[in-house]
Amino acid sequence: MLPILNLGPLALPVSPLLLLASVWIGLELTERHAPRYQSNPDLLYRLTLVALIAGLVGARLGYAARAPQAFLASPLSLLAPQPHMLDPWSGFLAAGLAALIYGQRRQLPLAHTLDALTTLLAVVAVGLGLAHWASGDAFGAPTRLPWAIFLWGELRHPTQVYETLAAVLIAAAVWPGGRIARLSEDQGAPGARFWAFIALSAAARLFLEAFRGDSLLWFGGIRQAQVIAWAVLALALGQIGACLRSRILNAGPK
């Protein structure tokens, strides 16, 4: 765990830096691979930038909306460079809406765009695992297994390591030129790469959540994240099925 990197007078938060680095690397690679998915690298870059900016603004406004009086008393705080004052769900919503509007205005084909952006998502997923490792977030349940790590007062599953390894394997599975990616690249099933990434990520979360020590629980000890991951998995499997059907239909008349 390395939450803060002390460099002289500077105390740098490692977790956000790792995430930023993963976004940057992911964007570079996405631009490079974009032509494989019939996407324009410049438009993809702008789409991501628009989504990131909208996401940040939305996340800050969502946080402020939780305690409006606090920000009415100190309005300049809205501009403070503090990652703590962000509401993730508001951010995702704003980023998604902004990307949708931008994509429609530029008439970006949805399936091809999602396939191209899968590289970015896969790299950011690895970055997220590393960021969790640095901050000690997404920690594991207590265990006595030989590979347990001592964290937050107990020996625990190294869930951040599990998460990172799973993300690396998933990235490798959907990497351009691979068997899954080629379904979208040259086998007439646009969208298959993106939905395969979503399905694999959901399956990994469904499996690994069982080892987490910070799960939000529903009735009977059922873990909320697993139920959501199961629903996402069902949707993604259905979408992959649709992509495969479209491939068969496209290939039919030839």
């Binding site: 803060i4 503090q82 703590h84 937050w152 020590g213 873990r223 139920v227 199961w230 499997l237």
Partner: protein, 185 residues
Amino acid sequence: MNKRWNLFSALALVLGAAWIALSAAAPGSVTGGLTPAPRRGFLAPDLALEDSNGQLVRLSDLRGRPVLVNFWASWCPPCQAEMPALQRVYDDYGEQGYVILAVNTTFQDSEAEALAFIEERGLTFPVLWDWDGDAARRYEVRSMPTSFFIDADGIIRDVVIGGPMSEGLLRAQAEQMLQQMPQER
């Protein structure tokens, strides 16, 4: 191909549902507030330190009120920068039950300089003295300032490493924890 995919999907979903049921959490197997650790979601490790008047202040005695524990040092510029905002928040929310404990890391600071700083800035919230570094060790303080927002049940709701914290963040945290007080108790 399509039939095989449908079969595979159905099997994956059935196995997934079975795994959800099998891996349901046993009581106490996830975070809970029972393990003391300097981390969001955990019980705040107890503190027993003397304040400027020589009175012993124990964190666990403040259960029932939200508390901000702020580790600081007089030589640390971000600590100095956030103190006026801490004072304003204390002025506005202190009467509603919000507690601020400013733990001076005296083992790496000078008491005289810290007292001069408190005097100069007119700080009225309790300042505690961590003479031997025990409190900083318990809270795994790696950087200055570090702040722990602790709710009325003694559970850490947020940790902010580094600073200065904006006044908006301080106010938002105070308001949210004060709002939650009646529901949590």
